[in-house]
């Protein structure tokens, strides 16, 4: 008899929907159907059905082909690489559990690694801004229950966080928001007329790269100051009008994404968005939330913070203290400046998502990648260690974009013989300890 696993948490994006229902064959081996997930989440669970999954570690040969090796060999290679390298980039972590991260950090402390997560190319700018000006924020349930003014700025949840709008931000009826969508005014600020813009009541098309100027204008308008006729392609009348509407709301929120963090100005764009939010609290209740991307990139930031005090780019290479300096200990900078001696990637694919200059540097160094699937990084690594998919084939703690911790579940067995991240990392740690004692 197939069985249904309920309350399943989706390991794709920072929305971390936890209401999936997954039907599994009675031998626990196959996913038969996925309910409640978005297209991307469904694809992730269904992917387990695809043939051709790698089930053994692989080592790249001089001719560029890969040869299967045992876990023991792969772990020994990895441990030796880590012990030998004086500075290892240990990047990724956004798609694994907090428990696995903890083990990874212990390894990094031993061998002098630099632990960085996907925030480094994603919401790193936001983290820098929050370190500068703080952040007034709330959980997503607060939005559902109270928000009547919702702004999406430089983000496109219709594509990147598909169920965000129906679960939290636009459509749901909550305690004080019994009218649901009808009781909310939705704004979208973007340089493209996106699918998110289509569901907004008001679309404000900002010229690409002019978000800082426009946010500055919002701030000025909130304080009743004068504006030039046009700001980033937006007429000043529009700015005054929108700000007045925001002030008449009872509870407002800004969701922002890569449109702010990636464009010129980076952290300064977030800084002023936060400052605007803070100013708005003089008039009404206002919050701001970063649309975190990977399902557990937030978790990596949390674990690093409680263990070392910094949310990403944590340099442990001095062995006795943790350091953090963006631009210096951040992955892309470390790689382009050729400052690391080896690369250790886990639960991520920098090959696909880092600028090519960084990956050219990476490909010249001893590299180990731990990932369930073949991807752009595994193919330029020396060793690829396949593992069970966290959130599908093994569980563990994850943190949602609003920092709420939610457990991911194991719904099916991993393919025969496949280890989990936690198991692989524990074995690497043990091997590192052995090698260091021998030395």
């Amino acid at each position: 008899m197939p069985k249904v696993v309920t309350d399943v948490t989706c390991p794709f994006c920072g929305t971390l929907c936890d209401d999936l229902e997954i039907t599994v064959s009675d031998d626990n081996k196959k996913i038969l159907s996925v309910k409640n997930a978005c297209a991307i989440g469904a694809e992730k669970f269904n992917h387990t059905k695809e043939p051709g999954r790698v089930t053994h570690p692989r080592m790249r040969q001089p001719d560029g082909t890969f040869k299967e090796i045992s876990y023991d060999e792969a772990i020994d290679f990895t441990a030796r690489m880590l012990v030998k390298s004086r500075k290892t980039l240990m990047y990724g972590w956004a798609s694994t559990s907090c428990q696995a991260m903890s083990i990874g950090h212990e390894i990094a402390e031993k061998v002098g690694g630099i632990v960085d997560n996907c925030a480094t190319v994603c919401h790193g700018s936001s983290l820098i801004a929050i370190q500068d000006v703080g952040i007034p924020s709330c959980t997503l349930g607060e939005i559902k229950n109270r928000a009547d003014r919702v702004i999406f700025w430089g983000c496109n949840p219709a594509h990147a966080h598909p169920r965000h709008m129906s679960r939290y931000s636009i459509f749901p009826r909550g305690f004080f928001t019994v009218k649901g969508h009808k009781g909310r005014k939705i704004y979208c600020v973007d340089c493209r007329h996106t699918d998110t813009a289509r569901v907004a009541d008001t679309f404000i098309q900002v010229q690409q790269g002019y978000d800082y100027e426009l946010l500055n204008a919002f701030r000025t308008a909130a304080r009743g100051g004068p504006l030039p006729d046009e700001i980033g392609g937006v007429p000043k009348e529009k700015v005054y009008e929108v700000v007045e509407e925001l002030k008449t709301g009872r509870f407002g929120v800004i969701f922002f994404g890569m449109g702010l963090t990636h464009t010129l100005g980076r952290n300064h764009n977030i800084d002023i968005a936060i400052s605007f939010t803070r100013d708005m609290n003089e008039f009404t209740k206002f919050n701001i939330i970063a649309m975190r991307g990977h399902w557990n990139v937030t978790g990596s930031g949390q674990v690093l913070s409680w263990q070392y005090g910094f949310p990403y780019a944590v340099d442990l290479s001095r062995l006795d203290k943790a350091r953090y300096q963006t631009g210096e200990t951040t992955s892309v900078d470390l790689l382009t400046r050729n400052e690391v001696e080896a690369c250790f990637y886990i639960a991520t694919d920098p090959g696909a998502h880092f600028p090519i200059a960084a990956m050219i540097s990476s490909s010249k160094k001893p590299t180990v990648t731990i990932d369930p699937h073949i991807n752009c990084t595994t193919e330029i690594s020396d060793v690829h260690i396949p593992v069970a998919m966290v959130g599908v084939e093994t569980g563990g703690c994850a943190y949602r974009m609003d920092n709420v911790p939610i457990e991911t579940r194991k719904v099916v067995d991993p393919p025969e013989g496949l280890l989990t991240d936690e198991e692989v990392l524990t074995r690497i740690l043990n091997r590192v300890n052995q090698l260091m004692e021998e030395a």
């Binding site: 500068d132 703080g134 007034p136 924020s137 209740k285 409680w306």
Partner: protein, 566 residues
């Protein structure tokens, strides 16, 4: 397990009335025993003070707001990292140390237990993840309930039994220890940008007052017979003239009787009272009302308090009192972080510099000390810094020094830029009292253990009790303030569960920490389970099935099981 005999020490144990007498303490299998066999390892404690491991009753050391403090203040790590030891993890941070440093620092000062004072239920898993990673010390966490929607609805309808069933359910879900109230009603109001500044201000929409919330939760607490009393951070924290609100709140404890099997006698713990003992009506005529407040506390045996001593450091304030942090940000304009938590609570974080060059900070410093020095019952008065709000817990050695030495206090008063104004607005300069080690032991060991319902096994050195023992290089003869501070900050030995974890201030063993939580059995309550189901379906953003913190998150859990079905 190994056996120890601690010889020749001066023992300070208020739980047995032992005041500095020489006593040998024997330890076997993690417990204190009557006598040791000849094979026991002898620890020479000559000229040293021997006390039970200290218990921290109120600190913010694990969880979401603490971690915001850590990561949004990289500057807090500058200059404050330790060289890593042989068997320890990397340490970092000053006002909000990392979990590793937190565990080590408590242990170095002789602490073996710490209460995380504010756990937002929705974030309970996060709190427990941090507790899990904090070495050596035992920990527990108090879920914040003073602005919880379920609670407000039950209490408004006078349904104490339903509220009790809900609280029991919540403690089990969150692996919590007791009932924490923070700015009752005010934090819910803050979700609309408002506040409740007196105990009679109605909560928007919910149509209930802070006074009703507090009373209802005291009744709930005693209905369940929890080990700890309700633990309250009152309305109007940190505002000039708030001592009247404080007295109004404390009076709510009158007429209630503690009902529990742990020997706890009080029904209310009023926390960080320093922040609530302010006179004047603005920062210009701001003054101490510690005497007025302590006069009441000394008379009213139904309550315990902790001080919340200002340590005169740069620190990071953090509290579930969301509106207060917004107010504080308005005063100092430093970076403000806030998180409102659906149906439950909120929290804010703002850095703060308690400068000896600012008059108000000097007065706050004085008030914290006055509370302890005016106390007639050290068993009901506990030392805290409301870490990290009034200062980091790592300053306990300095606070103990101020309390034990008038000279140390006078030196500090002299060092203030506005000494005269501080002296005018307070009484600290005219207090000659110097606390004894016996009184310090009551305020940090026996007292908090009793208030937490743990006095059967913790906070004392009687045979049968847990072998959590701190041995310090000082005694009642020690008068040099610098020597007191140094000794209190670096235990000669710390035994945790009968094992030596610290020796001469150096961590030698990661110990075996326990997470304490309270599991109360209540009568099956269909109404409450129905309400839970409905609220999760309609208003929470997580599924009910994902709310529970599994027991695997509580390492070596110490479950206090209660039966409230009778």
């Amino acid at each position: 397990m190994s056996e120890f005999l601690i010889k020749n020490g001066y023992v300070y144990d208020p739980s047995q009335g032992i005041n500095g007498e020489r006593h040998d303490i024997a330890v076997k299998d993690g417990k204190i025993v009557e006598s040791a066999s000849s094979g026991a390892t002898v620890i020479d404690a000559k000229d040293k003070a021997v006390m039970a491991g200290a218990l921290e009753i109120h600190a913010h050391i694990a969880g979401p707001k603490v971690n915001v403090g850590r990561w949004y203040r990289p500057e807090d790590k500058l200059f404050h990292s330790y060289k890593r030891g042989e068997s320890t993890r990397i340490e970092g941070g000053f006002s909000i140390p990392t979990v590793f440093k937190t565990g080590y620092e408590y242990a170095r000062m002789g602490y073996t237990f710490a209460m995380e004072a504010a756990m937002p239920p929705l974030y309970a898993r996060h709190v427990h993840e941090e507790i899990h990673d904090t070495p050596i010390i035992d920990e527990a966490a108090l879920p914040v309930i003073g602005n919880n929607w379920f609670m407000m609805e039950y209490i408004k309808n006078n349904e104490i039994e339903n509220n009790a069933a809900y609280v029991a359910w919540l403690l089990r879900q969150t692996k919590g220890y007791g009932i924490k109230i923070v700015n009752p009603g005010g934090t819910e109001a803050w979700a609309w940008g408002l506040n409740c500044l007196t105990i009679h201000d109605p909560v928007p929409y919910f149509d209930i007052t802070p006074a009703e919330i507090i009373t209802g939760l005291i009744q709930t607490n005693e209905f369940l017979g929890l080990p700890h009393s309700v633990h309250i951070h009152q309305n109007s924290l940190g505002l000039p003239g708030n001592y009247t609100v404080t007295l109004d709140t404390l009076k709510l404890a009158e007429g209630h009787t503690a009902k529990n099997r742990f020997g706890r006698k009080q029904v209310m713990h009023s926390t960080h009272l320093q922040f609530h003992s302010y006179g004047g009506d603005n920062w210009g005529n701001f003054e101490s009302k510690a005497r007025e407040v302590m006069d009441y506390v000394n008379r009213q045996e139904n309550i315990t308090i902790d001080t919340g001593n200002v340590t005169l450091d740069e620190t990071t304030t953090m509290t579930a009192d969301g509106p207060f942090e917004h107010h504080l940000h308005g005063l100092n304009h430093l970076k403000w972080a806030n998180v409102d938590v659906e149906l439950e609570t909120a929290a804010g974080v703002v850095p703060y510099i308690y400068s000896p060059n600012i008059k108000v900070c000097g007065i706050q410093w004085a008030i914290g000390l006055e509370l302890a020095l005016f106390s007639k019952d050290p068993m009901r008065t506990f030392i805290t810094t409301d870490h990290p709000n009034a200062g980091p817990f790592t300053r306990y050695p300095r606070i103990v020094t101020w309390l034990m030495s008038k000279k140390a206090r006078d030196d500090q008063i002299k060092a203030f830029k506005y000494s005269d104004k501080v002296v005018d607005a307070t009484e600290v300069a005219s207090i000659d009292r110097e606390l004894t080690l016996y009184e310090i032991a009551a305020m940090t060991r026996a007292g908090p253990a009793a208030a937490l319902g743990l006095s059967q096994n913790y906070g004392g050195l009687a045979p049968g009790m847990n072998a959590d023992i701190a041995i310090y290089n000082f005694n009642d003869e020690t008068t040099d303030p610098a020597a007191i501070e140094k000794a209190y900050g670096n235990v000669a030995f710390l035994f945790k569960d009968g094992k030596i974890c610290v020796r001469d201030g150096v961590i030698v063993d990661p110990g075996m920490k326990h997470t304490f939580w309270v599991d109360v059995k209540v009568k099956e309550n269909k109404q409450v389970m129905h309400d839970v189901r409905e609220k999760f379906l309609k208003y929470y953003s997580v599924n009910e099935g994902n709310y529970l913190v599994p027991e695997s998150y509580a390492p070596h859990q110490h479950v206090i099981a209660l039966d409230a079905t009778q």
